[in-house]
Symmetry: C2
Subunit: 187 residues, 2 copies
């Protein structure tokens, strides 16, 4: 079930076919039989607060360059979900975070993403823009630049954070009713 | 950040390099620039009960052919997490399930999997082996064939189910302390 590491093989000559024992079309290499499974990708991230304010980063990269987002990004191989969320805070905001809870699991089928968003705090009040950020700031709730938020799920996560503020035990949220996140990432 | 659909392109001539603006090595096509991101895969599944008994399927496929497992498998593109868990119950056990809660989020870094396991019940008492199963059965807790379970996370999920039996609101579990699931899938 686990594809071999394509980095270790030669170039592949892919064609679309249904592998033996499968029920979906996949890209299969005519030469070596490698199956290039394309599955949803996992985004790991966090609503990070410090003394009641929310850490947001302004994107230095497309899509949505210049818009504000939470520290979040694609999970990498070889790490846990929590490791990934901590790494993203480090990469985007030079911030060390302490994860407290799983806040939400969002499904965004159009772009085949599952977003695992956490509730976290700053381990210490140090942060600065990483390579993918123009600017990193703490915002009070009323200061959040709602008109300049990069992705719908950032708005969902911030609002979901507020709904369980101070609660130790809660059920992680899923998409708001009727919301598919189905707005293009790129303008 | 979202790779183009490799199914729509010609054959690729991959080499390992760090793409512009990235910080990890990726397989990049010399010809068309397509980046083959390899990210962790999502397994979606459920602990399904009916009148206090647990639905298990005996695997008809490798790895762990002949061993018992929960209805679970790789999430496919274009579906939500819950859709995927329901599809797997249908494919492996011809069972319609009603999902009640997110039971656990397990990280298994060695094989780069994130497993999203749910708590569910049978919508009706109908089930039978799908193409990937030799046999599907309901087991009372004391009848579960613990020595013939396919994967460590199946044991985790069953035990976690018991820990929150009857609880409507609970925090989803992660890996048991010290457990990485780091046992080969294949014998």
């Amino acid at each position: 079930m686990i594809p071999p590491d394509p980095g270790k093989g030669p170039s592949h000559d892919f064609h679309l076919t249904v592998p033996d024992g499968d029920d979906h079309e996949r890209l299969v290499c005519r030469t070596c039989g490698f199956v290039n499974y394309v599955n949803p990708k996992i985004v790991v991230g966090s609503v990070v607060t410090h003394q009641g304010r929310f850490l947001l980063a302004r994107r230095a990269i497309d899509p949505r360059l210049g818009f504000w987002t939470l520290p979040a990004g694609f999970m990498e191989v070889g790490e846990t979900v929590a490791d990934g969320a901590r790494r993203e805070a480090r990469e985007e905001a030079n911030a060390e975070i302490v994860i407290d809870a799983l806040l939400a699991v969002y499904s965004i089928p159009r772009i085949s993403q599952v977003q695992l968003m956490h509730r976290a705090t700053l381990a210490r009040p140090d942060f600065s823009p990483g390579a993918e950020s123009l600017e990193v700031r703490l915002f009070a709730w009323d200061e959040i630049p709602w008109g300049e938020i990069a992705f719908p799920s950032v708005v969902w996560a911030l609002n979901h954070w507020r709904q369980v503020e101070g609660q130790a035990v809660f059920v992680p949220f899923t998409n708001p009713p009727g919301e598919t996140g189905d707005r293009p990432l790129a303008p």
